[in-house]
């Protein structure tokens, strides 16, 4: 078992370097660089040659790519990702300022989608093939295919513009700094409702359909028939025998979904003016802000790896075969 975890962990480190190298090469091979960003802003004629060379030197753009990567790596191991090309603030500071906002938004949406979606999936699995289950399947496919910017604008139109019961945009009201902790909490909740709804509905549909199909697969297996034959109640069959075996694909889904916690909310952040990393990522790529792009990549990579290690651990608990298999080697 220990060997299993060590191997997984080493994989994770290897993957991490793979991601950073790949991103580094990719972003540098896109035409344009931070200097083009300045030129686009100000016009090349107005930039003295000395300034251009200074900027190139500062970002080591005059060095070969592998050397640039080593420079970057040297900073990265001490969590120094350099300064942003856009506003010259330290990248770490810029990301840490906005990352909690994005995580807050996405974690709530993710948790709600799972808590509501999985039970719906179980419910549908027990009614597989009946008209009501068919209807719910169609409904969830429709839900999944709605474009999120459209849903966001619709929710905004109804709840903020027409009814006026929820705030239009932003993370807090104007008087936020002057109110008590309880009022702040309510204020933040009110601001969260629409962005969370927008982020949640597609995930909800995925969770509902995915858990349904996982469970349906399990129900067809012989051991369920055995359980029923030995007289176990329907509830016990579902919760005790079936669900546990349906957990494996759900854990895989979890591992695949977590990375979206950082990058999945660009559109929602833009529309609702949620001050998160989505917009930061987008602007950084357009401006060829290499240090910020790399900093955010590391954050995303870390979360992805965390997700993959987490699902590996959960597999162990969900499926004895993983444990036994490892012990046998």
């Amino acid at each position: 078992m220990a060997a299993y975890f060590i191997r997984r962990f080493l994989y994770a480190i290897f993957t991490f370097f793979g991601i950073t190298v790949a991103t580094f090469v990719l972003i540098h091979s896109v035409p344009g660089d931070p200097v083009t960003f300045y030129i686009g802003r100000a016009g090349i004629a107005s930039i003295p040659k000395g300034t251009v060379e200074r900027i190139r030197r500062e970002y080591h753009l005059d060095q070969p790519l592998p050397v640039q990567y080593l420079y970057w790596l040297r900073g990265a191991v001490t969590l120094d990702f350099g300064r942003s090309v856009i506003d010259r603030r330290p990248v770490t500071e810029r990301i840490l300022e906005k990352l909690p906002n994005t995580l807050q938004l996405n974690l709530i949406a993710f948790a709600l989608a799972a808590v509501i979606g999985i039970p719906i999936g179980l419910w549908s699995a027990t009614r597989s093939g009946r008209p009501i289950e068919r209807a719910s399947a169609v409904f969830f496919f429709l839900l999944y295919s709605l474009p999120s910017f459209w849903v966001a604008l619709l929710l905004m139109e109804v709840f903020s513009v027409r009814l006026g019961i929820l705030p239009l945009f932003g993370m807090s009201s104007d008087q936020y700094t002057d109110i008590g902790a309880a009022a702040r909490f309510t204020d933040r909740l009110r601001h969260l409702v629409l962005p969370v709804l927008t982020l949640m509905y597609a995930q909800l549909a995925i969770f509902a359909r995915f858990s349904k199909s996982a469970l349906t697969e399990v129900i067809r297996q012989d051991f369920i028939t055995t359980a029923r034959a030995k007289g176990a109640g329907e509830r016990a069959v579902m919760w005790h025998h079936a669900l546990r075996n349906a957990l494996i694909p759900l854990i895989t889904l979890l591992g695949l979904t977590i990375p979206y916690l950082i990058s999945g909310s660009v559109i929602v952040e833009q529309i609702f003016q949620w001050d998160g990393v989505g917009l930061l990522y987008y602007d950084a790529i357009l401006a060829r802000d290499y240090p910020t792009v790399m900093g955010l990549t590391v954050a995303t990579a870390l979360i992805t790896l965390f997700a993959s290690v987490l699902s590996d651990v959960l597999y162990v608990f969900a499926d004895p075969r993983v444990r036994l298999g490892e012990a046998g080697t």
Partner: protein, 543 residues
Amino acid sequence: MKRLCIALVLCLACGREQPTKSTVQSPAIPADDSPRDGGTLIRRLDADIITLNPVIISSRYDSYVANYLFTPMIHIDRNLRPMPGLAKSWDISDDGRLYRFNLNPKATFADGTPVRASDVLYTLRKIVDPATEAVQIVGSFELLDLTRTRVIDDHTIEIAFREPLATQLLRFNELWVVPEHIYSKGEFRNDFNARAVGSGAYKLVRREVGKEVVLERRSDYWGERPHIQTVVFKIINDHNTAWNALKRKEIDEALIASDTWFREHNDPVLARYIDFRRFYTLNYSYIAWNGRNPLLGDKRVRRALAMCIPTDAVINDLYHGTARAMSGQFTPDEWAYNPTVPVIRYDPEGAKAILTSLGWTDKDGDGVLEKGNRTFEFDLLALSGSATGKQLVQMVQAEMKKVGIKVDVVILDGATAIQRVLNGNYEAAYLGWDLDPDPDPFALFHSSQFPPHGQNFVYYASAEADRLIDAARRELDQSKRKDLYWKLHEVLSQDQPYTWVVQASAKWGINKRVRGVETSPGYGLFLWYPGELGWWLATAPQR
């Protein structure tokens, strides 16, 4: 400095206007036209500001905020002419190289200290110091001669330049003086992005990254005091969200996207409290022809191509009549504009006749013209992110196909496109320019300005244009300068280094409680004097 403007092309997508319009005066607000002091104006920023340091300013939004916090050396008035700002008067030597400014002796910074000539010198030094990376402003002072620039006394400074330049005086509008005793303590490039001490009518209350910037009127302001007590800039990136906020009276002004404008500006309920404005600013869109390309290097070919642009259809179908045709480099609101130069008419048959006379015919009947073993085909580059831009290049592509020209549309993101264009690695490109208040097009069309160190990326070289541009740059007599530019307008129109497409109007919505709102022909609502500093609020915010 002229900007290769990605943001602009996005603005163009939002479209912009004509002076004819009739909004019904609101019956909801009493006709109270005497300026009143106080109140909170809530403005919208399309993107967060990058810095509050006026020397390293790098976006339009930075300027919007800085214009409240700092008083420029000279203001420009509604018609883009210089008027006193921080300097109450000035003299220019006969050879045009020495500028002597007399600062307003009453001028103080927000910390109460007087503005001294030494602060002006300090700011100039910072602007031209390469370590500052003042990329936006340094070009306006590239001829500055620091060795001969000197402080005469506390309120007088003599600023020297290596060469006379007719446009130099207006460039002092970009000089926002910072107090040396504050900005010299700390790291200039990094320590003054979030705080500011200026000589403007307002002072900074707070900046909350990603949310807002709050300014308050200075009680000790030395110049003419503005009416509005508090100015809040709310950051709203999304146009739809901003429009909803304007509708809900949560903000007082916002740029309105074209589609929203056409859908909503005739709504009688909205017209009761929103003033819909359209106006032209100094910008245009154009197709750049790479002059080094053997095909496009011939001005007769470029003229034929210009005759394939369906300008009327572009204006009516893409911009719903809210854009106007361009005859050349200068826009109708500029004094340099020569009204006798005609717009090139859409005439595909005429274009075909020109190309036939140059030996281009469709010998193999495949619908594409050939000459020898070459086919008439080129790439037309356009920026992603602009829906209107994409539609436009598709229209051009369809029109040219009728004439027998194969156009391959290449859509690229801003940074990639700029790099390709500045490296001369393109054939034709659909782009936009934001122009300076002074019409000098030296950087764009003078033969000394080829890339990599200039912006003449169409590689246009004309002895006559060079002569006119050089003469107009040195000519300090305005009426003689005008004659030179009128001639240049004609020359450029004939040579077609660009094919000028349209000037699109800006569209704005302003809550009617905001009064005293005027537009400048060319500068629109902001950054001229008094401009936004002359506004006042009729009633308390309605929520």
